[in-house]
Structures are given as structure tokens and as C-alpha cells.
């Protein structure tokens, strides 16, 4: 609110006028009077224009409405009981904190303290790992390598509960490509050259089983895989089989080496090898195995360890991929089977929960830039600081910015498996938001007409005096009313994508609330711009009246002061003059000395007379030849 001083008229008081008038000679009074300014020379039109300017740049909307709306939505999100495990409160994350941080948010300095809470995601993920142990291990059953073994265990004749399959053969054939001999995939001789292996035993040099015929070895043994993943209800027997027999798990090595390794891991083989070497150096006696292990070169051990670590990763990835597919993919089969098996939805819920919690965290990091964009739009308009001039392009630019932020700052901090899902989710969310903006603003008239009653009520609420309802309550009521109309839009744009993906999750309500909040903010912005009820115009008209009334009052006061003082002075002057002139007249008539009256008159008129006494005059007459009247 500009100070009223800008529009104020100069003030003229009676004393002021009196002083000015009495300082000058009565002869000058008229001039003074005509030159006095009773009001400023500013044209009333200029004043009007100034007031209009003042009203064009008014943005209290953010404080009035957008803040309460956002806090509302944030509360719904952060205080949701299902997200309790994310421990927002313990981490000091609250609605007002996020709101304040979003006000200071800038794309340049991301990675504030909020990055830490994402470590909580580790906990969520480990909980997902707990799936492996939490369930009755009876589910796993017994390890069987081949179908025969399985049958022997007591499974049915056509059971598929065995680990081995034909992939080995295919892999090996690919490696040899019809030749008789090929390189070993892991082994090197003591001199560094690669060992050679033979495809068929009969071609191999004599030596029997310990000679260099090929064995296609499972780097991570099937048993180990079975032990690790067998109890995972999210993995079926087929899955286990596939995991065990991925190409990455195969290595063609000599039978000799394979016999030594058996079902242990390469790490264990290395330990054996090191122990043997130590013992040999110490001169101790070696066991049979240890002795055999000494035939392995160090180079082989190195290759083997490298291969093992790569394979572990590959197996883990494959396992997780299949796990997720089974839980969230469309293979309903595994879910219902599982549900039947354990008689409760508990585990699936747990899986969903960890996913949701991960999503919750990502959303918290996403909300800040989103809020920033929304308040920026309301405060400065769509095109501000985007380098675009048309609204559509500006919206697109803003969301691109948002999505870049997510990709560079948020998603990389997520660990492995959920990244794909979450990245997908946010892409859909951001694309949907862009559509929502365009759609909502394009059909704002429809929104307004459909929700007309709601809007009338909402405006009544907004223009209530502060005493009857607090700002937050007002915003709340407003939001509820507007939300009814904007929800249809939100649902329309997000039904096929996000809302469906979150079916059955508690996050759905939260996301819906968030999106409704965004849509309502847009409606608020549009309504303000449309100024449907000419609220702004009325305020401005009131201010115009106020200012002009003040000016008119001042002019009247000035004129009164002026008139009073002027008339008073004129009357005084007249009185004085008459007195002097009467005495002058009398003196003339009575043949008396007129000089004193004349001096009084000259004083009255503030005219300087040099000759003050008769003696001076005589002297003047004597001295000067000619009298000059000047």
C-alpha cells in the first residue's frame, strides 16, 4: 500500500497566509494573493492514473491462498499414518519446513540435507530382502538337481522342481562351435598361456577324469542359488531354474578344476589355494585337496574371482527382476498362488509397502521443486524466467526443468531395483501434470460454470472479515469447494496412468490430494486473473474515492484558511490606512505639520524615505542644485 503522501495536497494554514501577507507591503498584497497556490497543480487525471498503476502490481495471492492450500496438501502427505515408517518427524521434516524450503528453492543448489533421508530407503529395501527369510522355509522344499532327483524326493512324476536344465549344453556348444578344442574360459598355465580344453573326453589326452576335457561349470552352484532364493515366495521353481542357468553363470573349465571346485565358490577355492601355499612354504604336510589346488595357477584364481563377482551381480539382478515382475507385473498367477500358500496378503503387502515407502521418499524430494514452480507461476506468471514467450511452451519448459531435476538429483540416489518403477512413475506424473495444466486452463470457463455455486460460496468465504475465520480455515473451505470441480479434471488426466498403477495403495489418496492441490492452485490463479467478481476493481474504486476525498477536503481547508487570513489582512490594512489618511487630511485642513502622517504612511506602505527630518531636508536643499524625486 503506497503511502498517502504521494497524493496529498500541500497544506495551507491561516497563520502561514497571515505571515506571508504581513511581510510585504500592502501594495504587494494583491500579487501575493493571486499567486498563492491553494492546491497542487497535479492534474486529477494524473492522480487517477497513478492509482491504477498501484493496483496493477499486487500479488498477495500467494500468501492468501496458495500457502494454505499447499500446507494442507503437505499435511495430508506427511502426517499420513501409513508413511509413519518413513520417520518424517524424526528427521525433522514437517509441512512448514518443506514449504519454507520450497520458497528458497533454486535449481542451482539442489542436494541439501534432504538427500540423507533417502538412505532410509536402504532400510526399506532391506526389508524387501527380508522377504527371503521371513517366510516359512518349508515353502522351499528340498533341493533337487535333475528331474530324477526330484522324483526321488517325492515330487510328482512331471514335477518341475529341479534346478538343472539344458542351457548348459547350448552354452557349451556355442563356446566350442563344432571344434574339438577351445580355450578354457578361466584357466591359465603357470607360464601365462591359456589352457586348452577338449570338447569330448575321448579326444582329450589320456588321463581320465582329471584330464583336460571340458566341464561346463556353474560358477555359483545351483545349490547355493537354491538356498539363497528357494524360500522366496516371489520366485517360482521355473524362476529358480532360470536364475541358476543364466549364461553368466556358466564357465567352461577343465574337469580337473571342476572336480576340485565341486559345489564350493571360487572364493573358497582361493582360500584353499592360499592355505596350501602357506603350508608348503612352512613345510607342513598338505591334504590331498590342498595338493591338487597347487596345480592351479594364480592367474586362474584371479580370473575366477573376477568371474565370480560379475556372476553374483548378474544373478542378483536376474533374481530381483523376476521378483518384481512377479509381485507387480501382470502375472497374477504367482500372486494368488502365493496368497493361497501363506493364507494372508501380508507378504505382498510388505513388498508393496517398501515400494510405496521408496516412492514416498522420492515424492518428498519432488514436492519441493513442484511447489516452487507453482508459487512461481502464481507470483510471476507462466512465462517468467523460462526463456519462452508463449504460455504453452513455458509450461513445457518448466516441466522439462522439473524432470531434469528428478533425473539428475533424485533418481540416482535410489538403489537398484525400484529405480525403473519410480522413474517411470515420475515421467508419467510430470507428463500428466503438463496435460493437466493445459487442459485445466483451456477449459477454465467450464470449470467455472460447473462449479459456479461452489465458487460463489468460496468467494463469500474469502471476503469474510478476518475475525470470523482464520486464513487457514478460509483456505481449507476454499480448497474443499474448488476441489470438487477440479477433481474431475485430475482424474481424467491421470486415470489411465498413475492412479491405476497405484491401485490398492494408500499412496493413491495422497497423490490424488497432491494433484488436486495443484489443480486448485491453478484455478485460483485463473480466477484471480479473471477477477470474476471485480474484487480488485472494487478495491481500486474504493481507494480512488478515498484519495480524492482527502484531496478535496484539503483543498477546501486551504481555501478557508486563505480566505480568512486574506480578509483579515485586508481589513487590517484598510483600517490602518484610513487612520493615517484621516489624520493626514485633518493635518492638511488644519494647516498643521503633515510630515508625521506622511512618514506613517510611508512606513505603512513600506516605502523608504531618506529625508527624515526637516533639518535633513534643509541640508539637502542647500547642497543639491536639483531635487530629484526617485
Amino acid at each position: 500500500m503506497a503511502t498517502k503522501d504521494e497524493y496529498v495536497q500541500p497544506v495551507l494554514s491561516t497563520e502561514q497566509v497571515l505571515n506571508e501577507l504581513q511581510d510585504c507591503s500592502p501594495l504587494q498584497v494583491s500579487k501575493q494573493l493571486i499567486n498563492m497556490e491553494l492546491h497542487d497543480q497535479r492534474k486529477s487525471l494524473e492522480v487517477m492514473a497513478k492509482i491504477y498503476d498501484e493496483f496493477d502490481t499486487n500479488t498477495n495471492l500467494v500468501d492468501e491462498l496458495v500457502e494454505p492450500i499447499s500446507l494442507n496438501v503437505l499435511d495430508a502427505f506427511i502426517l499420513h499414518p501409513k508413511l509413519k515408517n518413513l520417520k518424517f518427524k524424526a528427521m525433522g521434516i514437517s509441512s512448514s519446513r518443506i514449504w519454507n524450503e520450497s520458497k528458497q528453492f533454486s535449481y542451482e543448489d539442489a542436494n541439501s540435507s534432504d538427500a540423507d533421508p533417502l538412505d532410509q530407503y536402504m532400510i526399506a529395501r532391506e526389508r524387501a530382502g527380508e522377504l527371503n527369510q521371513a517366510v516359512n522355509s518349508k515353502l522351499a522344499g528340498k533341493y533337487a538337481r535333475s528331474q530324477n532327483d526330484a522324483r526321488k524326493q517325492g515330487y510328482g512324476a512331471n514335477t518341475n522342481r529341479y534346478m538343472d536344465d539344458d542351457s548348459k549344453k547350448v552354452y557349451s556348444e556355442k563356446h566350442f562351435q563344432g571344434r574339438r578344442r577351445a580355450d578354457s574360459e578361466l584357466e591359465v598355465n603357470h607360464d601365462g598361456s591359456v589352457k586348452r580344453i577338449w570338447n569330448e573326453k575321448k579326444h582329450a589326452p589320456k588321463g581320465g577324469a582329471n584330464h583336460n576335457n571340458k566341464n561346463t561349470d556353474h560358477t555359483v552352484s545351483l545349490k547355493e542359488i537354491f538356498d539363497d532364493y528357494g524360500s522366496n515366495i516371489a520366485l517360482s521353481s521355473d524362476d529358480l531354474q532360470a536364475i541358476g542357468n543364466i549364461d553368466d553363470n556358466f564357465k567352461n573349465i577343465t574337469a580337473e578344476l571342476n572336480n576340485l571346485k565341486r559345489e564350493s565358490s571360487w572364493t573358497e577355492v582361493k582360500t584353499l589355494h592360499d592355505t596350501a601355499k602357506r603350508k608348503q612354504a612352512a613345510g607342513q604336510s598338505l591334504s590331498n585337496k590342498e595338493a591338487r589346488s597347487l596345480t592351479i595357477s594364480d592367474g586362474t584364481i584371479e580370473n575366477a574371482l573376477e568371474a565370480e563377482s560379475l556372476t553374483n551381480k548378474a544373478i542378483q539382478t536376474e533374481a530381483e527382476k523376476r521378483q518384481l515382475e512377479n509381485i507387480w507385473g501382470n502375472k497374477k498367477g504367482i500372486r494368488t498362488k502365493v496368497a493361497k500358500k501363506i493364507g494372508t496378503q501380508g507378504v505382498e503387502k510388505a513388498a508393496n509397502q517398501s515400494r510405496d515407502e521408496a516412492l514416498g521418499h522420492a515424492l518428498v524430494l519432488f514436492i519441493k521443486p513442484l511447489l516452487f514452480e507453482m508459487t512461481d507461476i502464481v507470483k510471476h506468471g507462466f512465462t517468467y524466467n523460462t526463456g519462452e514467450t508463449c504460455v504453452g511452451a513455458a509450461i513445457a519448459a518448466r516441466f522439462k526443468r522439473l524432470s531434469n531435476y528428478m533425473v539428475t538429483n533424485v533418481l540416482p540416489t535410489l538403489k537398484q531395483s525400484f529405480t525403473g518403477f519410480i522413474s517411470n512413475f515420475f515421467q508419467n506424473l510430470i507428463a500428466g501434470l503438463g496435460e493437466l495444466f493445459k487442459g485445466l486452463l483451456g477449459s477454465i470457463l467450464k470449470v467455472v460454470s460447473e462449479g459456479f455455486n461452489a465458487i460463489i460460496q468460496a468467494f463469500k468465504i474469502l471476503t469474510e472479515p478476518e475475525s470470523s475465520r482464520s486464513k487457514a480455515e478460509k483456505a481449507d473451505a476454499f480448497l474443499k469447494l474448488i476441489a470438487t470441480t477440479t477433481v474431475t479434471f485430475v482424474v481424467f488426466y491421470f486415470e489411465k496412468t498413475i492412479l491405476q498403477a497405484l491401485e490398492g495403495s494408500f499412496l493413491k489418496d495422497i497423490i490424488l490430494a497432491l494433484l488436486t492441490g495443484v489443480a486448485s492452485t491453478l484455478v485460483v490463479w485463473a480466477l484471480d486473473k479473471m477477477d470474476l467478481f471485480s474484487v480488485k476493481d472494487e478495491k481500486r474504486a474504493a481507494r480512488v474515492k478515498e484519495i480524492f476525498d482527502m484531496r478535496i477536503r484539503q483543498i477546501k481547508q486551504n481555501t478557508d484558511a486563505f480566505e480568512t487570513a486574506a480578509l483579515q489582512t485586508l481589513a487590517n490594512n484598510k483600517l490602518q490606512f484610513r487612520q493615517i489618511s484621516e489624520s493626514m487630511s485633518k493635518a492638511i485642513d488644519d494647516d498643521e505639520n503633515v510630515n508625521s502622517s506622511i512618514y506613517s504612511m510611508a512606513d505603512f506602505m513600506k516605502i523608504e524615505l531618506e529625508i527624515k527630518t526637516t533639518d535633513d531636508f534643509m541640508a539637502l536643499l542647500g547642497s543639491q542644485d536639483r531635487l530629484v524625486v526617485s
Binding site: 486529477s44 472494487e538 478535496i552 481555501t559 490606512f577 510630515n595 506622511i598 531635487l627 526617485s630
Partner: protein, 310 residues
């Protein structure tokens, strides 16, 4: 859901438009304009009518006030003009008559010169006129919507926007006219204030006229007294000497009373001279541009004549 809404909306709107077209065809313009209260309220015509009424009122008010003001100030300025003319003639009188007399009388005693010229005040009426008045804004600037122009497209647009647009514009118009009303009030107040100022100025000028009148009167009476005194002294001297054409009287020999009179006249002359040289309303000799050009022409003429003569 949205699809159905859209369909409903578009069919509803087309129904309305059809209806409007139908109605327009059947009924004349006047009837629709004067239409039902409901229609007027919906489109905002009632607000618009209010605005028009108000606009008419303030235009009338402003015009009336301006007329009154023009008349009153015209009268006042004419009065002031007359007074200034009389002051001018007083000034002339002071130089042409009074000072002349004084000089010729005083010459018996001592040589006297009066310097300067009377200052003929030619003041521009513009000094007295009010410095700014802006009249009521043109209607086009205030009225954002005009219900008097009727056409079908307009009506349809009002309906399609559910009257929002037209109501809003009508409201804005009313507000603008109300704002204009306040602004015009300020202008009217300024005019009234100026009128009062002029009255005061007129009064003060009256005072000045009185100064002149009285003082000149006194001066004249004093001159009479002085003349009488001088004459009587001259006669005395003439009696005492043989010469007919007497020289100047010796001021040392005449009675003090006359010296005092002389002194009084001398001082009063100074006063009158100052008064005669003053401008009472204008700052300084405001030259009439016509005068300057005339003067210039004259000078050139003189120069050419001199050239011929030379």
C-alpha cells in the same frame, strides 16, 4: 466422464444459441433491450443502466458548475479589469497632473525633477484564470461495454460466457464512472476555490484603488496649501523688491511651515511615484507581443527615414 460433460455442454450451448436466434427473429430490438428484469440482471444491463445514469448526472453537474464558474469568474475578472484601468488612469493623473503641478510650484523654491514613467499595467487575463481544469472523460474511455449497440453476435457471446463477461464489464463500467464522479468533484472544488480566490483579489484591488484615490486627494489638497503659501511668499517678496519677474525664493528666508510643506510634498511624491511605478497584478512589464512587433516596425520605419534623410 469428461466426454459426456463435454457433449452435454456443447449441446446445451447450441440449444441456447438456437433459442436466441429464434427469439431475435421474432421480436424487435427494443423489446429485447427493455426485456425482462431477469435478462437485464443476467447480462448486467441493470448495472449498465446505473452507470449511464450516473454518467449523465456527473456530466450535467460538471457542465453546470463550469458554466457558473465561467460566469462568476468572468464577472470578477471584468471587475478587476475595470479597477486596474482606473488605477492606470490614476497613475497617469499622478504624473500628468499632480507631479506637473508640483514641479511647477516647487520650481519657485528649488529645481525639482521627477524621474520615471507611470507603469501602465497591462495584465493578461490569463493570470487570473484557473490553471488546470480537466473536463469529464470521454464516454468511450469509461464505458467498457455498450448495451445500446445491439447485435446478435453480442447477445450470443453474453450467453455463451454465461453472462460473466458482460456482467463483469458492466460492473467495471459502473466503477469507472463512480471513480470519474469523484475526480470531477475534485475539479469542481478546484473551480469553487479559485472563485473565492478571485473574490479576495478583487477586494484587495479595491483597496488599492482607495489608496490612490485618497492619497491623490490629499496630495492635491497639500499642493493647494503649498501653492497658497508660495504665492503669499512671492507676493511678499515682490512687495519688498523692485523686480517684477522674481527669481527663486530663497528657501532660507521663508517660514519653516512652508519648508515643512515642501518636505511633506517631496516625500509624498516619492510615495506616489512608487505607487505609480508598481504593477499590482503582473510581475513586471509584461510586453504585449503585438506591441513589440509594432515597436519593431516603427523602429525600422524610423531607420529607413533616417537613411533617406541622411
Amino acid at each position: 466422464m469428461f466426454g459426456r460433460l463435454g457433449n452435454w455442454a456443447s449441446s446445451a450451448i447450441s440449444r441456447v444459441v438456437d433459442k436466441v436466434v429464434e427469439v431475435a427473429k421474432k421480436i424487435t430490438n427494443k423489446v429485447i433491450e427493455k426485456g425482462s428484469k431477469c435478462w437485464n440482471g443476467f447480462t448486467g444491463k441493470t448495472t449498465f443502466d446505473k452507470a449511464e445514469q450516473l454518467y449523465q448526472q456527473i456530466t450535467d453537474r460538471y457542465d453546470k458548475n463550469k458554466r457558473d464558474y465561467d460566469q462568476a469568474s468572468g464577472q470578477l475578472i471584468a471587475d478587476i479589469d475595470t479597477q486596474v484601468s482606473s488605477i492606470n488612469s490614476f497613475k497617469q493623473d499622478i504624473y500628468q497632473v499632480q507631479f506637473k503641478r508640483f514641479v511647477s510650484l516647487a520650481n519657485r523654491l528649488h529645481n525639482v525633477t521627477v524621474k520615471g514613467q507611470p507603469f501602465e499595467e497591462l495584465f493578461d487575463d490569463a493570470i487570473l484564470e484557473a490553471k488546470t481544469t480537466a473536463s469529464v472523460e470521454h464516454r468511450g474511455n469509461l464505458f467498457l461495454i455498450d448495451f445500446n449497440k445491439f447485435d446478435l453476435v453480442r447477445v450470443a457471446s453474453y450467453v455463451l460466457t454465461l453472462g460473466f463477461y458482460s456482467r463483469k464489464k458492466a460492473k467495471q463500467t459502473l466503477l469507472k464512472v463512480q471513480e470519474e464522479e469523484v475526480r470531477i468533484d475534485e475539479e469542481i472544488t478546484k473551480m469553487k476555490s479559485h472563485q473565492r480566490q478571485l473574490k479576495v483579489v478583487a477586494k484587495s484591488i479595491d483597496g488599492v484603488v482607495e489608496y490612490f484615490d485618497v492619497l491623490i486627494n490629499n496630495y492635491s489638497k497639500l499642493l493647494d496649501r503649498f501653492e497658497y503659501g508660495i504665492q503669499s511668499q512671492r507676493h511678499k517678496q515682490m512687495v519688498q523688491s523692485d523686480e517684477i519677474f522674481a527669481h527663486k525664493l530663497d528657501f532660507r528666508l521663508i517660514p519653516v511651515a512652508h519648508i515643512e510643506e515642501f518636505q511633506a510634498l517631496f516625500n509624498l511624491s516619492i510615495v506616489l511615484k512608487q505607487m505609480a511605478n508598481l504593477g499590482y497584478l503582473s510581475e513586471s512589464g509584461k510586453l504585449n507581443p503585438k506591441d513589440t512587433s509594432q515597436a519593431k516596425a516603427l523602429f525600422e520605419k524610423v531607420a529607413s527615414i533616417q537613411a533617406i534623410a541622411a
